[in-house]
């Protein structure tokens, strides 16, 4: 008989200090913060003035005859009033106990504290923010119209393959919403949709025809040339929400659900906070566009949002921390969040109901 190893389990083996992680890389390609960027506030609730079109002479001109005046006569006087808006963050959190005995058993092979810190901080925190923003953006209540507009032709698999008036036509649906938003005073700059809707949009006959145009040879529709086709209408970003979350019970077979549903395509103006600009007709710091993802952090006295969260910060924002609980000889990993997708201006959002099936 030769010398042999009886089984692979009892023979010599290398113990790898690596872990197999299911779902690794699943939180890439999040789009929420591109629509509603992070916006730190210093107290749990913040208040800011709101300058509406209706009450602050927005988008007016003075060509009317009543503004003509003879030298030495009075000027026509305008009136204005300042409204206000309030954002109040929600505090939420979760934690997990890692017994020291378990950590020691896995020592030198797997750092459980590092693993759960990263899972809480990058994955759970990231997916939660993305879900809250998706729930806010894909919500007819947050549109100026209060309803979505049906796609002219439903986005079904059959309608994808029809060219002309009887086929689905996403480009025309999007252009119609761009025109609508401009007509209510806002210049849209993004289009957002789910991954499955994007697959149907990019492969439908009418999109292929529009993007190829008349003089261009055969080409596939990708995000670059689709966006190029919409650039004429002011669209600067095409955002494809293509991430999933697990809504199964602990330990059960994972049930993965899209964070961005197939029900809508959003057309709107991204949220932005910035300094005033003479070019845009305002010279005060503005919180423009649809809104921001406010979170409570960096406590300090006064009303200016803090960018330095060091000296006077405290646990109110989005964070991961660990603390020892010695009566059970364990370390506890905790994730805390206070994200609030705050809709500042619902004129900046219009929804297309895709009737995807």
């Amino acid at each position: 008989m030769p010398v042999f190893t009886p089984t692979s389990g009892t023979g010599p083996r290398q113990e790898l200090a690596l872990a197999i992680v299911e779902g690794e890389g699943a939180v890439e390609n999040l789009i929420g913060d591109k629509i509603m960027p992070d916006f730190p506030i210093d107290k749990r609730t913040a208040h800011l003035p709101k300058l509406t079109l209706a009450n602050t002479q927005g988008m007016r001109m003075i060509a009317d005859n009543k503004f003509l005046r003879a030298p030495g006569t009075k000027y026509e006087r305008m009136v204005a009033s300042v409204s206000d808006a309030t954002m109040s963050t929600n505090v939420r959190g979760a934690e997990i106990v890692v017994p020291n005995e378990v950590s020691m058993e896995w020592a030198e092979y797997l750092d459980l504290l590092a693993f759960f810190s990263a899972r809480f901080g990058q994955e759970i925190s990231g997916l939660t923010k993305e879900y809250l923003i998706a729930q806010t953006v894909f919500n007819v209540s947050n549109t100026f119209a209060g309803v979505a507009t049906n796609a002219a032709v439903a986005y079904t698999a059959a309608n994808r393959d029809i060219q002309g008036a009887l086929g689905m036509n996403p480009i025309q649906d999007i252009i119609a919403r761009v025109r609508y938003l401009k007509s209510i005073g806002e210049a849209p700059d993004f289009v957002a949709m789910s991954g499955p809707v994007w697959e149907r949009v990019r492969t439908c006959q009418n999109t292929l025809a529009f993007v190829r145009g008349i003089f261009v040879g055969i080409s596939e529709v990708n995000q670059t040339n689709f966006l190029g086709a919409l650039a004429e209408y002011g669209i600067k970003d095409l955002l494809i929400g293509d991430s999933y979350y697990n809504n199964a019970a602990d330990g059960a077979t994972p049930s993965l659900v899209q964070l961005w549903s197939n029900t809508y395509i959003a057309v709107g103006r991204k949220g932005k906070a910035g300094v005033g600009s003479e070019k845009d007709g305002v010279s005060v710091p503005t919180l423009g566009g649809f809104g921001v993802n406010a979170f409570w952090t960096g406590f300090k006295v006064g009303g200016v949002p803090s960018v330095e969260t060091g000296a006077l910060s405290f646990a109110g924002g989005n964070y991961v921390e660990t603390y020892p609980q010695m009566e059970i000889n364990s370390m506890v990993v905790r994730v805390g969040m206070s994200s609030l997708p705050f809709v500042g201006n619902n004129r900046c959002l219009a929804l297309i109901a895709t009737n995807y099936a």
Binding site: A134, V140, A148, T149, N150, P196, Y244, S261, N262, T263
Partner: protein, 84 residues
């Protein structure tokens, strides 16, 4: 030769598999799932409505007509629409 004939006579099973997209995202109701009519309180516009299992975002009520589409929870529906 007899063996080969037997192999070739196996009938390929016909099955249907749901697309991944349908399984991973509860779709809004299809047209024949709308069971009643309602009017929008603000302007009297007519909609068909459906009550269904919660979608991805927890919404259980959908209203729709040829041009417009609305989806929300029961309290919002009661506030915005009157059942006929």
């Amino acid at each position: 030769m007899a063996e080969e004939k037997k192999i070739n006579s196996v009938k390929i099973p016909e099955v249907e598999v749901s697309p991944v997209a349908d399984a991973s995202c509860p779709p809004p109701p299809i047209d024949d799932q709308f069971k009643g009519l309602c009017k929008r309180v603000s302007d009297g516009m007519e909609f068909a409505y459906a009550i269904h299992e919660a979608d991805t975002y927890g919404r259980t009520h959908t209203a729709k007509n040829s041009s417009l589409f609305w989806q929300g929870v029961e309290s919002e529906f009661r506030q915005l629409f009157d059942k006929k």
